[in-house]
């Protein structure tokens, strides 16, 4: 019965996620790790906590209301080479066109970090995002599921750790 409950829980997580992480084998090797599986009900709880008259709290609430889940794995290793290129490739292989499009990918030669941002669109609307960030000693994969309100996200730039985007000068 317990096993069935675990399987059902796992099935729910995988159903909600738009791609599979398959990174469980890295958890044991990591010195530090963050594993977040925030489904819609957890996000609703979080939205309720962003209360008050603060305009930014209202914007966060608005962004969260459109989301169905946030799934994230972040591993930090003590040595180089604890994860392989195949670990990243098996994720990238799931992010296929036409739904998924890589909107930006940067590689820093100084700290050998590679960051990719992918967007998933359905009927012209953003329905998910993926962020893959890897350097020799850390790996982060995030899947943000649901309607992402990019305009409101931009307004939140500079806060909550989000980058501040300046309006383009013409």
């Amino acid at each position: 019965m317990k096993r069935l409950a675990v399987l059902c829980g796992l099935a729910c997580v995988l159903y909600a996620q738009q791609f599979k992480f398959n990174l469980e084998h890295l958890a044991g090797k990591a010195g530090e790790k963050v594993e977040l599986d925030l489904n819609q009900s957890v996000l609703q709880f979080a939205a309720a906590a962003f209360s008050g008259k603060d305009a930014d709290a209202a914007k966060v609430k608005k962004v969260l209301s459109g989301l169905e889940g946030i799934y994230l794995r972040h591993f930090e290793f003590k040595r180089d080479g604890e994860y392989s290129k195949a670990d990243l490739d098996q994720i990238r292989n799931q992010l296929k066109a036409p739904e998924w499009q890589r909107i930006v990918g940067v590689t820093s030669s100084s700290d050998r970090e590679n960051v990719e941002v992918w967007l998933r669109t359905e009927n012209g609307k953003v329905s998910g995002a993926a962020v893959i960030a890897a350097d020799p000693r850390s790996l982060m994969v995030a899947n943000i599921v649901g309607a992402i309100d990019l305009a409101t996200l931009m307004e939140l730039g500079g806060q909550f750790g989000l980058p501040k985007l300046e309006p383009r000068k013409r």
Binding site: V34, L36, L38, V42, L43, F45, A46, A48, A49, F50, L64, I70, L72, H74, V104, V106, S108, E113, V115, V117, V131, A133, M140, A142, I144, F160, G161, L162, P163, L165
Partner: protein
């Protein structure tokens, strides 16, 4: 003086109550309160405990969920900041 001390000692000496003292007190206390009132008080106390406990648990869950969302935003945001810095550096280099 000895007489007074004796009298005081005798008056203040610890005396054990009779065996049925507890039962007699309980009987009298309960008998003075009408039964429906007791039930209402018990029900009200249960409701207060349940509602209060439930609200506290819900608040705790909301705060925990908020912390987790903030952690996710910080982690993803830090990577997006790197992307932005890199893209801006490339733009300025042109």
């Amino acid at each position: 003086m000895d007489w007074l001390e004796e009298q005081l000692k005798e008056a203040l000496a610890r005396k054990e109550p009779s065996a049925d003292f507890d039962a007699r007190v309980r009987r009298k206390t309960v008998a003075t309160m009408p039964r429906p009132v007791q039930r209402w008080i018990a029900a009200a106390a249960a409701v207060v405990v349940l509602v209060g406990g439930g609200a506290m648990y819900r608040r705790h869950q909301e705060e925990q969920a908020k912390e987790e969302v903030m952690l996710a935003m910080r982690l993803v945001g830090s990577k997006l900041n790197r992307v932005q810095a890199q893209v801006q550096a490339m733009g300025e280099g042109r």
